[in-house]
Symmetry: C2
Amino acid sequence: MDKPAARPKRTRIQREKRELIGEAALEVFSQHGFRGSTIDQIADAAGMSKPNLLYYFKNKEEIFATLIHRLMETWLAPLREMDATGDPHTEIRSYIRRKIEMARDFPRESRLFANEILQGAPRILPLLEGELKELVDEKAAIIATWMRAGRLKKSDPYHFIFAIWATTQHYADFDVQVRAVLGENRGGEGRFEDAARFLEGLFLA
Amino acid sequence: MDKPAARPKRTRIQREKRELIGEAALEVFSQHGFRGSTIDQIADAAGMSKPNLLYYFKNKEEIFATLIHRLMETWLAPLREMDATGDPHTEIRSYIRRKIEMARDFPRESRLFANEILQGAPRILPLLEGELKELVDEKAAIIATWMRAGRLKKSDPYHFIFAIWATTQHYADFDVQVRAVLGENRGGEGRFEDAARFLEGLFLA
DNA sequence: GCAATTTTTGACCGTTTGGACAAACGTTAA
DNA sequence: TTAACGTTTGTCCAAACGGTCAAAAATTGC
């Protein structure tokens, strides 16, 4: 069951153009959401005509789906790297660092993802209940072990992970608000470094 | 400058209907975002015809603006209540509790707000840079005092507030994801209580 | 060079959407 | 009763949108 949908063969041009469209779509979707974005906007951003774009993607839905599925992998990578045999504090610290770096370097990806979840995750709910849940179950178990061994302050490992997600992604998703509140002085690029240091202190007290 | 825009007099019916429309609009906007919602959907939800709705609100934009401005007040109320003369731990604990209760009881409001910020806060940026920043500056100063007095663990008061926002609102905005990951057993109503307890431990360590 | 194939585009279509409008309906008060 | 005012709706329109199609242009393989 559920075979990998026999990926169609693609020419070099097709791969390149699909990539180009993906980049343009990320830019547009992350700013206006799915319904708020038009195929024309994406085509413009990709420097091609609408019919040409639709030659590479069946429809708007498929562009979005391709994008968000590819994103999920990137998005989960940092958590995947968390190593049961490593030092708990080092592992958590690295995880927080990586997540903050992603918020800084890939805010569009974060916002696209946030948008999808906000709307009720209509396109990725199965992934959340499957792949994501499995991964979190696995890592939460590791964290629980660390806590039981007294190597990490005891708390609920699931909410611990949620809290790391929430706080780090906040700096991408709510960036406008963060900058508005911090103002001219502290709202510069340094805010990510400040955030990282604060979060290390918070989670590794 | 900037006079309160001379609020037009309204009949009882006008106030009631505008209230009714607001409720319907909240329901629709919070699910589909601004661009994803149609006036027809809102009119349906309010049990009236589209032209009738447009008799009470000039256009879609005005419905949204009215809604989100009214929301800001509700949204900031908990922070406003934080009292400099109170016991730091009690004050912070109450704040977290109230924010979690809001995530549980008013998730639509939270999502609407999140949506607006995600899109770059086009309609409320001035509010963020003005009223919100002032309030946060004031409360951050209080927290800083508490920290300097050794009555609260030292950290950056601004990022401290951000972290409380992020973690509490996460349970409204990312509710689908939270429930997907927690699964059948722990994803029930108890999750808010679990979250509150976890967050108290996290922020009041 | 040329035929087959892939890529690109202008023109077009049906639907949805925000919004305008005038006519109808209901209510109130003289 | 009726005039005035507030409320409601059916109808309509122009713009925007997702998507199609046939034909032109570019590329590839021989």
